[in-house]
């Protein structure tokens, strides 16, 4: 049942991300709900299961992107692995610590995506690069408590 709920949550978050309301799009940026969900599961599920969910979440995101398939899947798994390592070193129970983890991960994720796009020969102006890097990271962090709540609810069910 928990698996089904996680699958359902991934589908709902993916649908929401694909059809994010235009009135909530700031400077052409929207939050990465799937990334938050993948990270949130690290705190509530055991590592192997969270890693599997991260791979699935990344794959779902990749399917709808024009870029190379598997890029987000690999990155999501990497973030989950690193956050799990960090979670063992420090206490990430505090809300602010979790916010910082999401902010840092979103920043690194977007930095890698942006640099990969530039490495692919695309021309992105520094302003747009910084806009995407900073606004998406902050927006993702601000939305994260709601997704964390959802992940906690799912993990505590059954």
């Amino acid at each position: 049942m928990k698996r089904l709920l996680i699958l359902l949550a991934i589908i709902i978050l993916a649908t929401l991300q694909l059809n994010w309301p235009a009135c909530l799009v700031f400077f052409h940026c929207k939050p990465d709900l799937l990334l938050i969900f993948a990270l949130a599961l690290v705190f509530y599920l055991d590592f192997k299961y969270a890693l599997l969910c991260a791979a699935l979440t990344g794959l779902v995101k990749d399917v709808f992107l024009p870029a190379t398939l598997g890029f987000n899947m690999v990155l999501f798994c990497l973030w989950v692995y690193l956050v799990d390592r960090l979670n063992r070193q420090i206490s990430a129970e505090e809300v602010y610590v979790r916010w910082a983890v999401v902010l840092l991960t979103a920043f690194l994720h977007n930095l890698i995506l942006g640099l990969a796009s530039l490495a692919g020969g695309n021309i992105i102006s520094p302003v747009i690069f910084l806009r995407n890097l900073l606004i998406i990271s902050v927006y993702t962090t601000l939305i994260s408590p709601a997704v964390f709540k959802l992940a906690k609810k799912i993990s505590s069910t059954f």
Partner: protein, 206 residues
């Protein structure tokens, strides 16, 4: 006696409030349907006058991140949509199909940095390459220093392009500049289509 009337009037007022809410919702729905009707009528008119074979499709999803610009259409291989096909709207060029499944297709919009459209300035026939910037405007590059180009010029697809039919409106020049190397100029082009709010499109079937 007054109490009886008060109670009756209160119930009536509650019922009227409910009816008002219901009618407001109906009015909102009808307005939405009216707008959709106008858009679809425009598409149909364009389709009937157009020299190309077109398939109308609805946008059902947008790119999940902000590093690319793409949309998902509700029609795919079943309706003859294949990768490489050009997507337009009555206002101008939208993008190209990059993937197609049985009932859906992924379209790379013209404002994606991976997109490149061989285009010309309609007035002076000056050629250049239009690509996306992820921003509001497109960039037309590889323009020679002495290119005859001015703000307000229309940019259309060139006949040199194997992919795009000639003469589809891409946008309008809004700004000019010199590239970092100093050898070429570039032009910022405002897309003819409002790509952020596109809802219905037409796919050209060759």
């Amino acid at each position: 006696m007054g109490l009886v009337f008060y109670h009756r009037n209160m119930l009536l007022a509650q019922k009227l409030q409910q009816d008002l809410g219901f009618l407001r919702a109906r009015l909102f729905d009808l307005r939405e349907i009216n707008l959709e009707n106008a858009r679809l009528r425009g598409l149909l008119n364009f389709k009937q006058k157009s020299p190309w074979r077109l398939v109308a499709a609805r946008v059902v999803a947008r790119s999940p991140d902000s590093w690319s610009s793409s949309v998902i259409l509700d029609k795919g291989r079943y309706n003859g949509i294949k990768p490489g096909m050009v997507v337009i709207s009555p206002a101008g060029l939208v993008g190209t199909v990059i993937e197609s499944a049985q009932d859906s297709a992924k379209v790379l919009l013209v404002n994606d940095p991976n997109q490149g459209v061989s285009s010309i300035i309609q007035r002076s026939r000056q050629e250049g390459l239009v690509s996306g910037t992820l921003g509001t405007n497109l960039i037309m590059r590889y323009l020679p220093d002495d290119a005859d180009i001015a703000v307000g010029d229309l940019v259309v697809t060139s006949e040199l392009s194997q992919l795009y039919p000639k003469g589809i409106l891409v946008g309008r020049v809004v700004n000019l500049g010199k590239e970092f190397s100093g050898l070429n100029r570039y032009a910022l082009v405002k897309p003819a289509v409002d790509l952020a709010n596109i809802e219905e499109v037409l796919v050209i079937i060759p």
